[in-house]
Symmetry: C2
């Protein structure tokens, strides 16, 4: 509002952008946070929406509400169309937005490594929209299976291939198996749970590469015990509308291929005139500044720092905080310090009572204690009081009754509702 | 499953169809409940989804879960394409479905009385999909208003016209005003709540025609006090993309016209070879049977009985129960009895602490006691334990904090997510 305060534009209301905005609370700047959605979504629990365990609203919260008490921050619902680094200007679908400082945190997209048909014929799990699409598709598989003429027609509907043995693949495969063993078994008397196959495919020799091997072995044992078939050292040759062909020639007929294997920068940024690496990420200086543009910071999954840092939520929020601190340094005439990732730990949940936790790169837990720790940390982290209660209830119900609340197939596309022409005002 | 038991096909999992299915629990029949959605939605609270007070999942529950413990009932997710009354066959997108008895309960659709542009340019509020579309549109209005160049451009975004002073129109106008006075005022510092207009337009001289006049006057006073402008004896001449023109020539520029004024039978049934009245409803015998087809019962909003009955949830569930009883009579060789609507009462909520209740066509309450009664009855009625808890929490939060949980604009259409070609399997 003030004309004399420098304006910090932050693009992206993910962990990096949101934490950057919060760090600037009380600072003598005007913050404008831009996102194409009006909500922040809690990415680490996205797979639970896809597995019909949580409602989309449980892990999303309006950005304006998060920033409600921060006087120097405004939110702007806009799609960014380009940057003008020389003129310090963001081009949006709602007009230009000049800045004095810019913090970019637009996240990452799925990479397919050139695997034939993968992009067209598999489901991605990186946005709330994608999670809802996948959830609806999965729930429809069981309806279709009930109406199939014979077991041959039924099989592809009941075969789920998850590509990628990282945290998302492992967590999603486990959650999907629990959905099937629990609510689906109860609601679909016409479907024998043992006729459902979940196949987790990983190219390297082991799951969960960022965890110690002991935890990876535990995760594999646990998934196997639950009924998930784990195939390591297995590549995907191609994906088509009827299933996947593996690197060894094995054919799997499946209506549902979920691709969690690759992640890279958002290709949109190369159109914005930013330098990008082969993986589509933007190389940055140790301080996270863009070379040649000291007023621009690149954070989160989009940034490719010289010191490697994992593409996880924790790193994104540390980088967002760091970039905001860098802006404050520049305001005082100081040089922004170098960024150092502090690995507080990683955790992944495999199923009820089963998780793996690796703290401070040192302590490794598994099983029930790890699951309790996972639950506690995620409850504390979930943004917004109301969401936390809803998520706790949902999880408690899931735990006590083995049931799920979120099994309503709500898709606006089918049948199309009336959409008055003026919708995108 | 048994070949010897007569099959009762029920079309529609609304109040009529669901109560018909439940009434047949334990009877010597096979029940097949058909719906194009996999969930039952609690219609009386739909307006709260549109006003961002409840999440869609709070008022929807999977049909299979509701019928989980009913051994003689199966659910079939299908779109009905036609009937073959002579051959006792339902044609669906998943193939034909023969029946011995048929209970139709597909509900109603919005009627526009030939008002020019009304169907194309106004929002309807009869399905969960429509409620979500309207909610997203409303939330986007405030984002657009914040970015408008001047007050002239801003005004249509902040002007909401609700057509129809029945329960849906009154309840929605009240809930929308509370959304604006509460969360929107808190989150949108750039919007002065007093610059927002909600105009409730009703053609007859009074609101809530099925209630005693005292309660209608109370509702009007209360809405006025909250800030809603009520115009009775006012017709709508036309609706266009920029607003509405009233019968007296008054022009209202508005981006949001919500049409709650008319309700009629679903026009699809005339294509099914059923007789229909001018309002699109199907005339039935006093027993709710279709003339000439004693094995067919028509229930809920679709049915036009000789003794008038209101198109409300209570009537639909009584008719569903009655039709199921009629099938049991026919099985025993008895003639189905005539249907009589028992008016247990009506209730509508106007705002926090403010409702109207009319019990047994006799006792009228208003204000806080009516609101408490409304809350209690709706909690008891909501299908499914989990939904009830979520709704209570949502309402409690709304009441205590004047806040709302459901303000996330999640629309799959914008931007379009990848939709693998095999989706509608």
């Amino acid at each position: 509002m003030s004309e004399h305060r420098p304006r910090v534009v932050i693009i992206g209301a993910g962990f990096a952008g949101l934490w950057a905005a919060k760090t600037l609370a009380g600072a003598p700047v005007d913050v404008v946070l831009v996102d194409r959605n009006n909500y922040h979504s809690f990415f680490p629990l996205l797979y639970q929406v896809a597995a019909a365990e949580l409602e989309p609203g449980d892990i999303a919260y309006p950005v304006r509400t998060i920033l409600r008490r921060q006087d120097n921050a405004r939110f702007r619902l806009s799609e960014v169309q380009g940057l003008d680094l020389g003129d310090r200007m963001v081009r949006t679908d709602r007009g230009p937005l000049p800045y004095d400082y810019l913090i970019l945190g637009i996240g990452s997209t799925t990479r397919y490594f050139g695997v034939d048909g993968a992009e067209e014929h598999s489901f991605s799990l990186r946005t709330l929209d994608e999670a809802v699409v996948l959830r609806n598709h999965i729930l429809r598989r069981f309806e279709a299976a009930e109406q199939a003429a014979d077991s041959q027609e039924r099989r592809p509907h009941l075969t789920f291939v998850v590509v990628g043995g990282g945290p998302t693949g492992v967590e999603f495969a486990g959650a999907l198996q629990e959905l099937i063993n629990g609510p689906i078994a109860k609601d679909h008397h016409g479907i024998d749970p043992s006729s459902v196959s979940i196949i987790l495919v990983e190219a390297t020799p082991r799951l969960l590469s960022i965890y110690p091997n002991r935890l990876a072995r535990y995760a594999r044992r646990r998934l196997h015990k639950m009924g998930v078939s784990v195939r390591t050292e297995t590549t995907v040759a191609s994906v088509d509308a009827a299933g996947v062909t593996l690197g060894d020639g094995t054919r799997i007929d499946s209506s549902t291929v979920v691709w969690t294997a690759g992640v890279g920068g958002d290709p949109v940024v190369s159109g914005w005139g930013l330098p990008t690496s082969q993986s589509g990420r933007v190389p940055v200086l140790p301080s996270l500044q863009l070379e040649g543009y000291p007023e621009v910071f690149v954070t989160g999954d989009l940034a490719l720092p010289q010191a490697a840092a994992p593409m996880v939520a924790q790193n994104a929020l540390q980088q967002g905080t760091h970039a905001a601190g860098g802006v404050l340094c520049l305001l005082k005439g100081d040089a922004p310090p170098a960024y150092n990732y502090r690995d507080l730990g990683n955790m992944a949940v495999i199923g009820r009572n089963a998780a793996v936790v690796h703290l401070f790169s040192r302590w490794a837990f598994q099983g029930f204690p790890a699951w309790v720790m996972w639950l506690g940390v995620h409850l504390l982290k979930l943004v917004g009081f109301r969401n936390r209660i809803a998520a706790v209830l949902s999880w408690a119900g899931d735990y006590l009754f083995g049931d799920r609340a979120a099994r309503v197939i709500l898709e606006r596309a089918d049948p199309p509702p009336p959409q008055p022409g003026r919708l995108p005002g």
